[in-house]
């Protein structure tokens, strides 16, 4: 009995059971034929009996086939749409990071519903933990800011100028790392709504270039922004910060005199921006690594920075429904190209 119940509750066994029932019907029908053949009516009046049997066989066959068709179609359609809805919801949750959403649970008795219910409880657990992490990082921000401010005040009272400056410098580095980490986790948690507006990516890139002009001029690095105007729905300040980080990186890793190329392309519903530098580049197998927090390549340790720049950019882009990829230059030179995409704005929001 428990086995039967188990079989009935499984969506794949539901299909199997359907076929089993139909085969059973077929067997019964065959048994009927045998019965007719052996009870002698076929011998007594062969013509009419045969005709009647043929009608019966043909009719029953058509009926059974129709039944098989309708039932298989119905069950397959039912199971397939349920799978599809589950996949759609999961995809949406992954894309938006909205952990408050739940998978649909249609019935309470079969295996698909059981999987949905299980995934839902996992989502609930995840949501709780993410909220927990968020609360903890908010508290850290609050609780550490005041003592660190006090620490800075006492350091400033130091009379030895050299020691004071060194300590202040170190404290500022600590604060910068701490702020970046908090910002990345805040963006990833997706708890802060974005201040979305239509922004022209090319304008944003030009503004960032203009902001970096003195640094670029000092290192004699020509930077050009080429391509089409391209409207995206974005949080202007957040996206600008991401772009500034990319240009900062490009300039930092490119030797004086090297060029930086920025290109915007607006094709279909995707905006693609590439920022290519003439720096040392990153070997292919290590490119994924630098998108992780605190991962810097050993040979770049001497460069200023805390290894949080690219992870922050990646988090900002993910939050906007975009992607970030690191590539080599396609003109054969050494250097790194950062390519990111954003969905093109569908219209005025």
């Amino acid at each position: 009995m428990t086995l039967l119940r188990k079989l009935l509750r499984s969506s794949s066994y539901q299909m199997g059971a359907l076929f089993a029932v139909l085969i059973l019907l077929g067997l019964l029908f065959a048994a009927h034929l045998f019965f007719v053949a052996f009870d002698g009516s076929l011998l007594r009046d062969p013509a009419t009996a045969l005709q009647r049997e043929l009608w019966l066989v043909g009719g029953a066959l058509v009926l059974v086939l129709l039944l098989i068709f309708a039932l298989s179609y119905g069950v397959t359609y039912y199971v397939a749409t349920r799978f599809e809805r589950m996949a759609e919801t999961t995809e949406r949750i992954i894309r938006t990071g909205n952990l408050a959403e739940r998978l649909p649970v249609d019935s309470s008795w079969d295996d698909l519903s059981k999987v949905s219910a299980l995934l839902n409880s996992m989502l609930e657990e995840l949501e709780l933990r993410v909220d927990g992490i968020k609360a903890v990082s908010d508290n850290i921000a609050h609780d550490l800011r005041t003592p660190l401010t006090r620490l800075r005040a006492s350091i400033e009272e130091q009379t030895d100028g050299a020691v004071r400056d060194q300590l202040l410098g170190e404290l500022d580095d600590t604060l910068a790392i701490f702020r970046s980490l908090l910002r990345i986790s805040a963006i990833e948690a997706g708890k802060q709504p974005l201040a979305l507006a239509e922004v022209d990516l090319r304008d944003l890139l030009r503004d960032a270039t203009e902001l970096y002009e003195p640094v670029l001029a000092e290192k004699n690095q020509p930077l050009s922004v080429a391509g089409d105007p391209c409207l995206v729905a974005a949080d202007r300040d957040l996206l600008f910060q991401g772009i500034v980080n990319l240009i900062d990186n490009a300039s930092k890793f490119t030797a004086p005199g090297g060029a930086i190329d920025v290109h915007v392309a607006c094709r279909g519903d995707t905006a693609t921006v590439t920022v290519c530098d003439e720096g040392p580049g990153i070997p292919e197998h290590r490119r994924a690594q630098v998108l992780e927090r605190f991962q810097r390549l050993d040979d770049s340790r001497s460069e200023p920075g805390n290894g949080l720049g690219l992870p922050l950019v990646a988090a900002i882009l993910r939050r906007h429904g975009g992607t970030l990829k690191l590539k080599g230059r396609n003109d054969g030179q050494t250097g790194l190209c950062v390519e990111f995409t954003l969905p093109v704005s569908a219209g005025v929001s």
Binding site: D138, A141, H142, R145, T146, T149, R152, E156, L168, D172, A176, R179, S180, R183, K191, Q192, P193, L194, A195, L196, A197, D207, E210, L211, Y212, P214, V215, E218, R236, D237, L238, F240, Q241, V244, N245, D248, G309
Partner: protein, 225 residues
Amino acid sequence: MRYLVVEDDEKVLRYVEKGLREAGHQVDTAANGKDGLFLATSETYDALVMDWMLPDIDGIGILHALRASGNAVPILMLSARGEVTDRVKGLRSGADDYLVKPFAFEELLARLEVLTLRRGSADTQTTLQCRDLHMDLLSRRVNRGDQSIDLNPREFALLEYLLRNQNQVVTRTMLLENVWDYHFDPQTNIIDVHISRLRQKIDKDHDHALIHTVRGAGYRLSESS
């Protein structure tokens, strides 16, 4: 200066209150919108620091009530970013400045001092001056002593902002917001590079430097260091 701080989060309230007192200001506090509005209308303050989300009456409510009654006291709004999807909305509704939590206290203090001093200077000024540095806003000419200084438009805007807020500390974030119109915490030293380039033009070859670095906070343009 006398300030009113309206904030329902006790920790933030104490943090701001303590900091302002240590900076030598008088501070009144309110933990909800009703008390805040009452104090704001019955007392006179140099500026208000107000949270966006408050019990009873929210920050915007107080703001509207004050402005409707003709009270033009400078108001600095505090907010967790998510509460306003458009930062401009906050400023359009009549607030004078806007700061997203969590914030550094130096940032709040610098902004408040700029707000309270801005009231005095009329926007109709056509020249700005600090010691022997002159800026003509109409002809867009800058002179130090009898020497003419050539500035690009961004350097001009940067110097104009420093001159308008002379003797006040302005933070890097404030410069980014007011000169470049972007609102974020610049993690790189890019603002310092702009300042040092401006310094090259303004202070180089002069015994008396006008642009000063305020450690841990930002910059100040003033006659004396």
